[in-house]
């Protein structure tokens, strides 16, 4: 099972971010998602929401480029997770900067909701800059919209399990999986939002998901500069997905 780690960049500070990301680079996982900080991370829960404000204060493009380069050197793919509200006035300019930073692709959690009317323009702008658009949708996305975004893209799929990051409401996950798998065929499905325990990962693996994305679970340990707790969490994730 594949593993994607999410970090809001550069939270909690440039120095601390570097320290924590370096602790992960020799571990066995596939993808890194770097959250580009925004004032309005609408679909994140309170834990990830609070990382954006602080990261905005420390954000710099130069540091982002260096970080992406460093992660890619370790053989991991790096994706920018960005809200479309960051670039609604200049999508091309934003895509250029993401291309220059060296990202493999983009995950846009609000593309199919708040920016639905311009989804094709944005998808085309992403690919014109040589970036992969990772289709992101959740359980309430209609079949027709899922089919369309799958046709516009070729990469793995990001399925948002819960309505928001870091929270858990009761869901009928096997039924959700069965519907999404039917729509996605052989495409790799990475599931994220609300995944924070070994038990949940085991369940998702058994159901058939190809990978998981985790972010909120280690925000507290980064915030408290608790390297021991951070290492334990990351190693648990590595072991549950690759063990």
């Amino acid at each position: 099972m594949k593993l994607a780690l999410y970090f809001t960049f550069p939270y909690p500070s440039r120095v601390a971010f570097d320290k924590f990301i370096n602790r992960t680079l020799l571990l066995n996982y596939e993808y890194v998602e770097l959250g580009i900080p925004t004032e309005h991370p609408y679909y994140d829960g309170p834990i990830v929401r609070r990382t954006h404000g602080k990261a905005m204060e420390e954000f710099s493009m130069k540091l982002l480029e260096d970080t992406v380069h460093m992660i890619r050197e370790k053989g991991k793919k790096v994706y920018a997770l960005a809200y479309c509200n960051l670039f609604e006035n200049d999508p091309d300019g934003f895509m250029s900067s993401m291309e220059d930073a060296g990202f493999d692709g983009l995950i846009l959690p609000d593309l199919l909701t708040d920016y639905y009317s311009i989804r094709k323009d944005i998808a085309s702008s992403v690919s014109s800059h040589g970036l992969e658009l990772i289709p992101f949708f959740n359980s309430t996305t209609p079949d027709a919209s899922i089919n369309e975004i799958l046709q516009l893209t070729n990469s793995w799929v990001y399925f948002g399990l819960q309505p928001s990051t870091g929270i858990r409401v009761p869901l009928d996950i096997p039924s959700m999986y069965s519907r999404i798998r039917n729509l996605c065929g052989e495409r790799e499905i990475i599931v994220g939002f609300g995944i924070n325990s070994a038990g949940t990962i085991k369940e998702l693996r058994k159901i058939g998901f190809d990978g998981i994305a985790v972010g909120s679970a280690f925000v507290n340990s980064m915030e408290n500069d608790d390297q021991v707790a951070f290492d334990l969490q990351i190693k648990m994730l590595e072991s549950e997905t690759h063990g």
Binding site: Y42, Y43, G45, P46, R49, R50, L112, T113, D114, Y116, F137, N138, S139, T140, T141, P142, D143, A144, S145, P163, S164, G166, I167, R168, V169, P170, L171, D172, S175, M176, R179
Partner: protein
């Protein structure tokens, strides 16, 4: 269940209730033309979505976020539906056709035939059932016109639990009989704003005679739920409620099929959107015309904006993207309390916004006229809310007089407890 034109039970034609009542609810979400914008938190410090775990019965919450197109209705709920008067009749309004010199056909689905007199029981029974199954002993809710409060009180009693009903103050004063029937069904009803919650007390301190709004009553019911660790039942707007109400449209489909009829237009009234959406969504895959009728005095369709807004005035629940006049909008005290809500269900709002569903707005005066026409032709006194749909249907028929159209409208409730609209 009756044969449309002359009130002969369909059982005499070999059609049984179970042939009409669907065994599954229909959830439109996977069939929508574009994705629904998800609920949003508005307080950066906390997750109002996570808080739903403490507010709603878990099975209801699960259905709120489900992608399943069809959800099996548990046998016990089917039994309670039948005891509550389902299926409701679909009746051909021949007298109204004659009155209007209409060359087409008019049918009405009569939700007033349920034991509580409106469609609201369709959503109250499953929520009360799921709450009771989860060991909850009391539920709370709000009510505008009183129909939802009545349905909640009965559904709670049928499932062996208590109910606390926050009734919008102006309706509480206008409709003493509603209060009485809620109490007869076993509910405990209070005027909102009330002294039972912090939020209610704050409002009463500023304005002791505040008329109340549905947004305030929802806030109080949710606050009371959290304060007392009970569960809250939702009357409209939310996806799961719309799904529960799909029983109306699914029954109508079967009834029309039995008669060999295909509708040209479906018409219903809209407060939060539950009866209208439950009625029309099962027909969405056809090209039938759909018209949502609201109150001119609460002009959500002509003056509202499609945006994220609060469901409740206090902002305890998540924001939803919907057509809204603003959560702090205080509507005029029109008699149709069920149409006073500031917003409309997200899926309905989307379909209005993209033009799939047309809208109309009807004045209270015109709806009262429609109420009388319907009473004098069909013998049924409709609820003032439903009379808006009837007024829209009458206009439609007058504008399409010789086109042979088949009009189907949903009469969401009776108005026998609303007669003071015509004066004391």
């Amino acid at each position: 269940m009756y044969k449309y034109n002359h009130f002969i039970p369909l059982s005499m034609y070999g059609v049984k209730n179970k042939d009409i009542i669907p065994e599954q609810w229909y959830n439109i979400t996977p069939d929508l033309p574009e994705p629904l914008s998800p609920p949003r938190d508005h307080d950066p410090e906390r997750s109002s979505i996570d808080l739903l775990n403490r507010i709603l019965p878990l099975e209801v919450l699960k259905q709120e976020f489900t992608s399943r197109r069809y959800e099996k209705i548990p046998d016990e709920i089917l039994r309670q539906y039948e005891q509550a008067g389902r299926p409701t009749p679909l009746i051909r309004a021949r007298n109204l056709e004659s009155f209007l010199n209409f060359t087409g056909k008019i049918f009405y689905k009569y939700e007033g035939a349920t034991v509580t007199g409106s469609h609201k029981i369709n959503a109250a029974i499953p929520q009360a059932y799921y709450a009771a199954q989860e060991g909850v002993t009391e539920v709370a809710t709000e009510t505008g016109a009183g129909q939802w409060g009545t349905a909640t009180a009965l559904a709670a009693s049928l499932n062996g639990i208590k109910s606390k009903i926050f009734m919008v103050n102006v309706s509480f004063r206008q409709k003493p009989l509603r209060k009485r029937i809620i109490e007869i069904y076993g509910g405990n009803v209070v005027a909102s704003p009330s002294t039972l919650t912090d939020y209610g007390r704050q409002i009463l301190k500023k304005e002791p005679e505040h008329p109340g709004t549905l947004g305030i009553a929802i806030s109080e019911a949710v606050q009371y739920t959290l304060d007392n660790n009970i569960r809250y039942l939702m009357g409209s707007v939310e996806n799961s409620v719309i799904t529960f109400q799909s029983i109306i449209g699914q029954e109508a489909q079967k009834q029309l099929e039995i008669e060999g009829e295909e509708p040209d237009v479906l018409i219903g009234c809209v407060g939060g959107g539950s009866n209208f959406s439950g009625f029309v969504f099962p027909f969405m895959k056809t090209d039938v015309e759909m018209i949502a009728s609201a109150a001119s005095e609460v002009p959500k369709f002509s003056k509202g904006k499609y945006r994220y807004d609060l469901i409740d005035t206090a902002g305890i629940l998540p924001q939803l993207k919907m057509i809204s006049l603003g959560a702090d909008y205080v509507p005029p005290p029109i008699y149709s309390g069920g149409l006073r809500y500031h917003g409309a269900a997200p899926a309905l709002s989307m379909l209005v916004n993209n033009g799939r569903i047309r809208t109309d707005e009807v004045t209270e005066e015109k709806s009262m006229e429609a109420m009388q026409i319907f009473a004098r032709t069909q013998g049924i006194v409709p609820a003032p809310e439903s009379a808006h749909a009837i007024a829209t249907a009458i206009d439609y028929c007058r504008n399409h007089e010789n086109q042979g159209k088949t009009v189907v409208l949903n009469v969401s409730g009776h108005g026998l407890l609303d007669l003071s609209i015509f004066g004391d």
